[in-house]
Structures are given as structure tokens and as C-alpha cells.
Amino acid sequence: MRIRVIRPGWQTIVQDLGRTGYEAWGVPVWGALDEYAYRWANWLLGNAEAAAVLEVAAMGPELLVLDDGVMALAGADFSVTVNGEAWHPGEARGLKAGSEIRFGRRKKGLRAYLAVAGGLAVPKVLGSRATDLTSRVGGYQGRPLRAQDVVESLGDEAPSRNTKRLTMRPRTVFRVFPGARLDRLKPGTWGRLLSHEYKVSPESSNIGLRLEGQSLVPPRGDWPSEGMAMGAIECVLSGQLVILMKARGSIGGYPVVAHVAQVDWPSLAQLVPGDRIRFEAVTLDDALNLLRIQRATVGSPATIHVVQTRAPFSGSVSRMDNYGRLLPRVGEWVESGELLLVIEALGVRQPLYAGESGELVSIVNDGAQVSYQEVLWAIREERDA
């Protein structure tokens, strides 16, 4: 199956699981930034785990299908249509030659993944088909797709599966561990990190997410560079923070304040410049438990239930945490046990927590007056079938 690019979008690149194994030579890994959505895209077609897909970011492309075939869509919601008909993330589609795939308005998330049967046919470079935009190698001629490029699938046929599950995990609360080099920063830095809100800067990329907001006390001293892990939050000389992503350099020299738990790496890939985020400490056991559940979710069937939670008494709603930061918003993935709001009445502050995991589909506003049994929020729960 061949696909021609009509309009390329902002950054449409071929990605797979990344160019691993060459870190000791200084080679950045790259690879699909949202591995959760990426795995879904390939699962929908029964592809191999490392099959190459298109990663679409910020503004999607317009594509023309040249041969009959099957494709799958996962991740961010770009109001995609095929010949004018809606195509939702989580759906594989049989497509006839001549079909027009059009990405429209971006509604939620930042990155979507388009898979083809057997994966995309581009040459492997050092074992991977991932595009490395820094070195301009891999993927399709080492660059993002342009108008008139034609990409081809390795296979012709594939099962065409669907899922009702959300194929991405949009979150603005990131679970973190203390950084390997926290001791190189001023005492109190950890507490500062956990009590402020940060804004995702437009100067973010597959290499790193730059954060704006309360800076930390800049590091003093000069240390030898060392290996930098995915999700490491480094404190640069200005005291600003950068979350290192998959295209980061293999080594770096700034002290690492914190590490984002692996379970939340896919959520980093869906952040949009301007999003406000915060950090929350997590234990290793909790983080790994959540990661195992997330892994097992890809490809497992589910039934969907919208579960409403009602006010246990009348009162006024606060949607802020103790530091004045807004709690999870509509559209975000919340975890069972996560604080969603506080009801205040007669001097009593009652925190209320999510009873299930899923997408938050509605929630009352900050400052709202609610009465007994009024619906406070609704969660779209994915129950294992």
C-alpha cells in the first residue's frame, strides 16, 4: 500500500521504538514519543511491536491513499476524516485507493500515530527506522514528510481491529522520583518542585520539554557529563527546568532534580505548549504497579461505563490543591484515588477522590455551590471485559 502526502502538516515523521544500543557512541534514541499510543496503533493492525508508523504532531497532514489497504489511528484527536467521514483514534480502517485522509482541528493531545500493515517500508539505519531530525538520518530520508512524498507499507493485509479505550493518556500531573543529582542543588529544591505549577514552553520538541514558571536556585559548580535517562528533569543554569525526552543527547551535564515515572512518559508526549503541569511524588511500588496496568491495557478488551459521583453534602467546591493549583481537568486521564475536588461546608473541608480510573468527562467548576446528591463529576471508566 502506498500513500501520497498532499499537505505534510507541522511535523509528520516516521518513528518506531527508537535507535537503541548506540548510546555509548553518542547516538540519540528518538522513536515514537508516546509509546502507549504507538503500541495501540500497531496493535490495531496486528503489527510487530517495533513496526514503523507515522508520528503526527500539532497540525496534521492530508494524505491520498494510492492502493487499497488498511490503516490504523491512535493517540491525539485531530478530527480526522476519510472522504469526509469521521475516523476516530482507536479504529483501524480498510481504505480504497483514492481515499483522502484529512487531519482537521486538533481537539485533544498533541501527537497521533498512523500505522500501516506490516509497518512503513523505509531503510533501517543502525537497526532502526526512527527518524533522527538532529542528524538527519533514518525514517524517510532523515526528514519530516513533504508534499508529494510517497510512503509505502511493508505488508498488504492485516486484521482490522478497534478499541473503545482511549489510546492516549492526557495528564497534567506527573509522578516523579527525586533526581539522581538532587544533592547538587540547594536544600529545599525538592519541596519547591512539588509545590509549584509549570507551563510548557513553545520551545519544546522531541528532544525536551522546556518549562516556564518558578525557577529553582541554579546549580553551582561544574560536573562531568553523564548518561541522561528518559524523563529526567534537569535544572539548567538559569534555574529553569527541561524534561528530557527520547531525542535527548545520550549524555548531559546539568544536575537532574527529578525523574518522571515511566508510566507518565506517554503523557509527556501529549502536552501542548501552554499547558500547566505539576509534579507529585510517587513510590517505586505504586509507579511500577501503574506501569504494569498500563502495559496490560494495550490490546485488552474493555467495556465503557460513565460513572457519576454525587455530592455527599451541600457546599462550595474548591478545585485547587493546597498550593492553589488546579486539580485534573476535563479530558484528562485520572487514576482511582486521585484528588479531584474539595467540598467546603460549615468549616469542614472534605476532599473527594476519583473512585475509578478513566477519562474525566465532566466536573463542576471551582467556586460552584453544589447541593446534596448533585453530580460533581463523571469518569469514563474502561472496565476490563
Binding site: A24, A180, P224, E226, G227, A229, G249, H259, Q262, L288
Partner: protein
Amino acid sequence: MTLSFGARVIPAGDSAVLLEFGEVVSPAINRQVHAARRAIVTAQIPGILAVVPAFSTILVQYEPCTVSLAALVDHLDSLMVDESPRQGGRTIEVPVWYGGEAGPDLLQVAKALNLSPQDVVDAHTGRPFYIYCLGFSPGFPLAGMLPPELILPRRQVPRTQVPAGTVAIAGSQTGIYPAPSPGGWHLIGRTPLALFDWTKHPPCPYEPGDRLLFGEISEKEYRQWANAG
């Protein structure tokens, strides 16, 4: 905790640990780093995804759903690391056209160091430099230590584009940009050697523990070499 081969284990999130052999840059510590790296890679411990050696540390990235932190540390602790200083490493000769358009910072560097440009070249070519690690960009060798008379802080304003093959110095280190990239080091020359080949394994003619021996060539020799290669 400290492993049997002397490295301190520092968790780096839920999917990586940093093994620290010391906090200073020295070939002796760096040889321990690479001896341990060889032992880790050879042992093929299940769940290890990447081993990233640097100056005095190794970052071990692992799959926490396959191997727990405790099991990983036990594996690492049981490794037999050959700590006897490895004989030699290779010496890689690197021909360099110094100054001119190849090394646009040579004159300024000489001036800042109170040396003649030829003094700088002599000091840079007079001895081999130990490669501590590769990083910054694919195949970029971080080598040193430079003699005290060549030590300068990096440029105030980094360049947005440095040509491939450019030989540079900063602090106590010297390196080579294998591909065009931005860079904040002082550019003193250029080599016609191709230093990183994306079609080969290993992709680089040198590895950490080897030494770079720079040798001066003329612009004419550079051009002949570059055209032949």
C-alpha cells in the same frame, strides 16, 4: 549502596540507575567505567536496555517490568570486573589542517592564551589525548586532558553551525565534530577523516579508552585527502 567493583548505585527514576565510580575526571576512573561497561554488556543481564558510559559514571537503563531494581543490583554486584589496567587502547592518528578557514578561532585562542598560533598547534599535536567517552552528538569524542597552557572556558556565544570534521577545544578537553552541528567550543582546525558511519557497526573508528594523536597537515594536503576520500 556500593557494588563489589566499587561503584556507588544511585537510582535515576524507576527505569535507570547511575553507577558512580568517582566525581572527578581521570583516565584511571574512566578505565574502571569502561571495564565495568564491558562486563555489564557481556553478561547480557535480562531487562537491561542501554548502558551509557561517560567520564566517571555509567547509566544503566532497564525495563522495570522485566527486572526489579533489587534483582538488577544483585546481578551487577555479582559481576566479575577485570580491574587490571587494560593494556593500551589504540592510538588513532588524526590529520588536522589548523587555522585559516578550518580553524577560525585559532588566532583568538592563541591571543587569549598568550601564545603564538604555532605554539597552540604544537601543544595540541605534541601528545595523544585519552578518549573518555563519546557524546554530545554521534561519534563526538570527548578527549583530554589538555595541557594547562591550552585551557580556556568555552565560547560565550555558541555557533549555530560548525562544519563536519572540525577539531575544537574547551576547558580541559578536545573533541571533533563528526557532523555539522551547533557548538560552543573553540574551533582550531579540521580533519578530512570521516568519523561516523551510519552504515557500519561499530560506526566509529575509535572507542573510549583509545587515544587521539593529532598531526598537522597543510590546507593542500587536507584538500587532497578530502577529495580522495
